[in-house]
């Protein structure tokens, strides 16, 4: 592509202004969740490796993961992993076995369904993680009848 405009600007503009509705949002969310999970994965491989290379450091990593900002990040991470999987399944199954279903209207519906499934799978996990975060970090027990351990 011999263009005078920088590819960075061209792509960023395309990402922002393309009016593909559901398919466009699914694409952006797939990339965002994929990059987010990869960023965490790199950190996670390295921090878990400290158990072998430098175990004294591991406790520091875990203490960080237990903090409220990181736990909020982990709740987001769980959504990212779930959404990237559900939406990836839509892409993989359509590409590999039913390419005829790559019709805009079919996929608009499919995208709505992937989002609904993702939220349904994520919500119980998010609520449970929030409960644990408030309990351990802030001393708030939202489910006093369960008791603490």
């Amino acid at each position: 592509m011999a263009s005078s405009a920088s590819p960075l600007k061209t792509t960023a503009t395309g990402y922002a202004t393309y009016q593909g509705r559901e398919g466009h949002y699914a694409f952006l969310l797939h990339r965002l969740t994929g990059l987010g999970v990869l960023l965490f994965l790199i950190i996670h491989i390295l921090d878990t490796s400290t158990v072998y290379f430098y175990p004294e450091l591991y406790e520091h990593a875990i203490a960080l993961y237990r903090s409220t900002p990181f736990m909020l990040g982990e709740i987001g991470l769980v959504f990212a992993v779930i959404y990237h999987g559900v939406n990836g399944l839509r892409i993989a199954v359509t590409d590999l076995w039913m390419p005829k279903r790559w019709a805009i209207q079919t996929q608009r519906n499919a995208v709505r369904i992937t989002l609904a499934i993702s939220v349904l799978l994520w919500a119980p996990a998010a609520l449970w993680m929030t409960y644990n975060m408030l309990l351990h970090n802030h001393g708030i027990n939202l489910l006093p009848f369960i008791g603490t351990h």
Binding site: M1, P7, L8, T11, R31, G34, L35, V37, L38, L41, I42, I45, L46, T48, S49, T50, V51, Y52, F53, P55, Y58, E59, I62, Y65, R66, F70, M71, E74, L77, V78, V81, I82, G85, G88, L89, I91, A92, D95, L96, A125, W128, M129, N132, H136
Partner: protein, 120 residues
Amino acid sequence: MKPRFEAIAWRAMRYSGILLIPLAWFHVYLQDVIVGVHAIDINYVAVRLANTGWVVYNFLLLAFAFAHGMYGLRQVSFDFVRSERGRRNVSILLLVLWLVISLIGAIALIGGARPELITH
């Protein structure tokens, strides 16, 4: 890069993605939701690293999830880097990063934790 590589990678991304749904979801639900970070300490990890089954499981995650992620990053970066030379440089950089970090993870998985770290 040869078109044959891209065609194989295209399929590999879809098949590894499908495989990662049970593999990564179970891992995340187990460690982040059911067990939770407040119950994870070095003893917990040391016990799991002493179990061959979990080490194999972690190897599968390291191999498939990380390769899937790094190839995905390559695809995303190709949206922004259009020149043949730029794409070649990005590919080499990501390949080296992938190999180095995979190697660190693999060594740690094989090495495991010192036995005295298992305290209970």
